[in-house]
Each structure stands twice: as C-alpha cells, then as structure tokens.
Amino acid sequence: MEEELEIFLEDCDDQLQFMENALVEMQNGIIDEEAIGAIFRAVHTIKGSAGMFGFDDIVAFTHTGENLFDLIRQGKVEVNKEMIDLFLRCKDYAEKLVQAAVNSEELDEEQKRIGEELTNKLIAYIEGKPQESAVEVLKDETLDESEQKWHISLRFHQEFFTTGMSINSIFNFFNKMGKVLLKHPITYNIPPLEELNPIHPYIGFEILFSGKTTKEELEDVFEFVADDVDLIIFDVSEKGAYESLVVQRGEALLQKELIAASFASQEMFSETFLKDVSSEESEAEEKKELKKEIIAPQESLEKQEEAKKSESKKKSSTTLRVDSHKIDLLINYMSEIVITNSKILSLVERENEESEESSELEEAAYSMKELLEYVRDGIMDMRMIQVGDSFNKFRRIVIDTAKKIGKDVEFVISGGETELDKSVVERISDPLIHMLRNSIDHGIELPEERVAKGKRAKGRVDLRAYPDAGSIVIEIEDDGGGLDKERILAKAIENGVVKPSDKLSDEEIYKLIFAAGLSTADKVSDISGRGVGMDVVKRNIEDLRGSVDITSTYGVGSKITIRLPLTLAIIDGFLVQVGLTKYIIPLENIKECIELTKEEEAQMGTNEFINLRGEMLPLLNIRDVLHEEESISNRKNIVIVYFGNKYVGLIVDELLGEYQTVIKSLGEVFVNLPGISGGSILGSGEIALIFDVPRLIELKNRVGSVK
C-alpha cells in the first residue's frame, strides 16, 4: 500500500474511533457540546482526507453526515436515541467505505443498499428541521457570517513532485471545502532552464480562500504531504498579516506579487517595512526563522482553548511532529558544547600531566564527556528517519517508467526500516531515482528478449538498505542484461576518457560509467537521457561523503552499491599536524597509524610506497601535495586510510589523537578544493581542515599518474 494511503487509513481509523467513543457516551446520556463537536470534527476530517484522494463515495456520504451535525451543533436539530443508533450504523458503514476505497474495491449490492438507506435517513433528519434553516444549508456555497477568509501560502520542499501527490487534487479539495477567491502562482523562484532541476519544485502558490473551516481543518488537507510542503495559513483580517507573510517567506519579490494579484494593497505594508525587505535580503533567511516564532498570527484565547481541547481528544498517538529547524538549532548548540567540552578536557589534561592519579575534576570532565555523547546521540537520533518512506515514493516512478517503455518490472524494497539522517535521505533521493531509471531503461530487457534468453519475462529491480560498519549501504540490483565491458571500454577510448594502452580491471571499467560524458546506450532513449547523469550522480553521492560502486555480470544483471555516512553533522576524527596546519582524518577511513622510522625512510628512497607486512602500500606525502611548511617536530608518521578497497598511507608529521568534531563548511570559495571536505573549530579556536579521504585517494592517483 502506498504510504499516503496508509496514513489515510490510520487517520480514518482514529477518527472513527473518536466518533464511536463520543457516540457511546451519548448513548449513556451524556449529550453535550463536546461530544457533538468531536463527532462533527471526525466526520469533517474524514471527508477532507477522502477528498484529497478523490474518494467521492466517502466524501458524499460524510458530507450528508456533516450537514446534519452542523445543524445539531447549532441547536437546530435535537439528538434522540434513534439518531444515536443511526449514527453508530453510519460509523460502521463509513468504516467499510474506507476499507473498500483503500483496497480499491467496490462495495457489494447489499452494502450499497445500506448506504442509500442510511443517507436517506440522514437527509430525513436534515429536512425534518425547521424550514428556515433548510435554506441555509442549501445555500452552502455563498458567503455568510460563519464563513471566514483564509490566506494559504504554499511552497514545496524538494521532494514534493516525486511524492506523486497532484497539486490539482489539493486545489480541487479547496473548491469542495469552500471557495477559492484568488489563486496566484509564484514563479520568481523558477530559475532559467540552465539551472533548473526539472523535478524540483520552485513554483509556489498564494491562495485566498473563503469557507466555514478552521485553520486546523485547512492544515489537515496537507496532512499527507506535511513533510513536503511549506505552508503558511492565516486569517486575512488580522492586522499586519500580509506583512508578516512577506517576512516569514523571506522573498523580496513577494510583496509586489501580493499587491499585483490584489491579495493586499500597498497600504497594508508600512514604509519602514518596505525598506527592511528590500535592503536586507541576506538577512531574510535568519529573520524567517526568528519571526516565525514571534509573529505567528495571534489567536484569541478562546480559539486556543478550543484547539487545545480538540487536540487532546484528537491526538492519542505518542509521536510528536517537530519542525526540523528546531532540531538543527539544537544540533548547532550541541556542536558548540562538544567543542567547549573538548577544550575543558584538554585544559584538565594539561593541568594533570604531571600527577599520576586523575583528579576529581578530570573524572567529572570525563563523565561530562560521556553524558554529552548520550545527549548528542539522542539529538542525532531525532534527525534519523526510516528510509522506507522515501523509498516507497519511488514505486510509482519505477512502475510508470517501466510501463512507458514496455517493460515488465517487479520492484522490491527491503530494509525500509534502516535509519538515516533526514538531510541525507533528502539528498540521496534524486540520485536514486536516476539510477533506478537507468536500471529499468538500460538494465532490464524487454519481456520477449528476456524470454528468449531463458529468463522470467518479468524483470526484477531490488532497492535495499542496511547498516554496515558505521555507514549505511543502499543497493540497487537488477536482473537485466548487465554491463557490456567491451562496449564501455570502446566508448571510453573513443571519448578519450582512457587510453587504449591503459590496463584496467573489470571493476575499473564498470566504474567508467560514472565518468563525465559517457553514455553507452546506442540510441538515446526517452527515460534516462543522453549521458548526463551518472557523473552527476556520483558527485552528489560524494558530496554526502559517500561512495558508489558497481558490479555486473554480463547477461545476468548489475548491482550498484552506495555507501553513505549515518550523519553529516558530526564525525569522529583523528587530529594530525602537517607543517603549521592541523588536519582531521575521519576515523571511519582510518585503518591504522604507524611511525615512519628513519631507516624505513632511507629504505624508501624516492619511491612512493613502502613494504608493509609484505604488501605494497602507496604513500601520499601530505606536505608535498598540499605544499605545507617543514615539520616543526621532525617526526614522521603514516596514517593508513582506506576507502572501499583502496589503501593509501598518508605521511603526516604528528599524531595528536582522536577528536570528535563538528563539520563546518569552509565556504563557497573552497567548493573546487579536492581532498578537503570542510573545517572544524578546535577547542583552542584554531581551525583544522577535514580530509575527504575518497577524494584524497583520487588525488593521489592523479598526482601519481602525472609523475
């Protein structure tokens, strides 16, 4: 079942349960506003959710129920015992409707008859009420006092388009709930084609809506895509509401658009404000964060109370939805604490260098360190999400892609419960989609072709995730034709990527598909484009400090293996010194450290490798490669780092010890810098540079081949 549908089913179950609870209370004679309100909200929520999915049967049935409850709420119809029984039957019927809808089944004739009967009975109660209010129910669509005008400002997160949720169904739903008075697309964030990633959303919408709905009900519309939309809803009658929208969005052009599309008038924006927005674009981001908290539209006390009540009734689940910005903020603070604590520890250690015993201060500092690690892990854990939710979104793309090119593919997801940092999950999504498409397009053969080869007509693509030694592995495996070594090599030689004289291992040949400008497809197909992509995919993964490998057997299939770090924010590293600069090597890449003795150095001569326990270990002298100054300590050590199955010994001056560190970006000036992934501020305030080991190994190969 699709993830959204699952949420829908769960949500309906919850609502039906609330309804039943309230009805049972009513049966026991407690017919109060609260119970009636609870049922009304439940019916309304189900209607709303069903509308999102286009389950018209449910919408129609619940709509009738909702109308009746609206009248009851207004005191125009009185509840009696028969009615409660009727409602219980309606609840049972609604449950069946939901089940049928989710499983895309039809109700049987008997059920349909029951539905009609129940609907007629509900209508009879609606029509039984005093005549004058009947008119009111019918004029449903027109504005009356109880209608309220809401502004809905809609932006989308990167993955929205790939969720498969159609934006039109959201608009349709607004049309059902009330009236869309204005709808204006926001297009200034759409870049020119050159910079466009076509499946990322840049467009946004501003909507003026009028209806008998509360803010919560409108927000519920987006419940299924809550993680993928950025939503601001406010009552337009609130003072300064539009001004605060512009601030919250932090989009300098928004104000003009709002005025041009007649949502707001010039007068709604104070003059000082105009200046603010235009002159401080750079600070807009920060402001966006701050003001979100401070000027969230003030709700009246009464409203809040009501919301609280309904909240406590509605939310029986124990999960808490937290704005990810709040967690990021916490991580930033945590990073500072980790740095400060390292500083305390190094001070304490220096203080105690002389004495044999550890002081109480030292012990306290160490238990503090331990506790901080728990807190840190706890916070990091909050950012971890299961990859399954994201993986399930690929189903539709895979199936549709296959269908489009006449292939029959079974898509199997496993390890969906594997957890990964949310930002990593978000950023790996595009590369995965690309590779999945490739597998289907270039990997899986057409059904006839498969049968001719003695394979099952239906191809199979596996997407699996599992944790492995401190990192997460994602694999895409297909049982298609596999890679054609000869053709890749021929193509690579033709494009000048490799020389005909180069001796390449199978693995190295397969890896060529990640080289820029190399597409082995004989003819350009609709799906995976024209050789743009795999190099970008590789780059994207490496930007996440991950790696990608491919193995393949001709005729049998291919397997792409992606290795990703658990998190991006903090790493355990090893601090070393080269010349005047301190560098951090991620611990996950270190195999061991050895001292380079004078004898060994002499033995080595001008060779760039040493013999380590019978194996040749290539060496990379950091001082030479990075043009560092002479060593101050005159010592030399080798840190053996590895990535995948490649080992390199880095020659450094001094080993300073393990260091837990927060990765910070060095800034955009250093984007092209190979071998260094960021910086870290040490306890002393000094900055250490963090090695990007995979790139460093690449650098070694490049430098080596030049020589």
């Binding site: 388009f161 790939t162 159609s166 934006i167 039109n168 608009f171 709808k183 204006h184 697309p185 297009t187 759409i190 870049p191 020119p192 084609l193 050159e194 466009l196 076509p198 499946i199 959303p201 840049y202 467009i203 919408f205 793309i397 549709d400 892609t401 489009k404 609709d526 799906i527 484009g529 024209r530 743009v532």
Partner: protein
C-alpha cells in the same frame, strides 16, 4: 519546433524535455506547436515557465500554438495561463 516525441509534458518527460528545450533556445524563433500535447502537469508548467525565462534572457519571445482546450484547462487549473501567455 513541435513536440514530436511526446504527448505529455509531465514529470516523466521533464528531464528529457529540459535537454530538448535547452537546445532549442538557440533557434531564432521559439514557436512551440502544442498540437500533440494532451497532458501537462505542474512539473511541465514549471518547465515551460523556466524556458520562457531563459528565452527572455536572450531577448526572445516564446509563443505556443495549437493549445487544445483541454490543455488550456489543465494549465488554468494552476492559474498559470497568463504567465505562459495564453490568457
């Protein structure tokens, strides 16, 4: 230019269409024949807006012809008909 190869401007075609449109940007006349297009989604609309922006940066105007009623409806559902110059 006509969209010979597709009948839909949707998320599934977006990557390829982007490449096609990028190439077409160099043409003197940017007239897009939409006769064959039956379906467009928000991804497609966004792509066309982006195309228009790139064209404007080159001082060129994009024109769409043979937009079917149904296609227009689909674009109007997102209120983007004016931006695409169809309003």
């Amino acid at each position: 230019m006509t969209f010979e190869m597709v009948e839909e401007i949707t998320i599934y075609e977006a990557e390829k269409l982007k490449e096609l449109l990028l190439e077409k940007l160099d043409d003197a006349e940017l007239l897009l024949d939409m006769a064959k297009i039956q379906k467009i989604d928000i991804v497609g609309i966004q792509l066309l807006i982006s195309f228009i922006k790139s064209a404007e940066a080159r001082d060129k105007r994009v024109e769409f012809k043979n937009v079917s009623e149904s296609l227009y409806e689909q674009i109007a559902a997102s209120s983007c008909e004016n931006i695409l110059g169809l309003g």
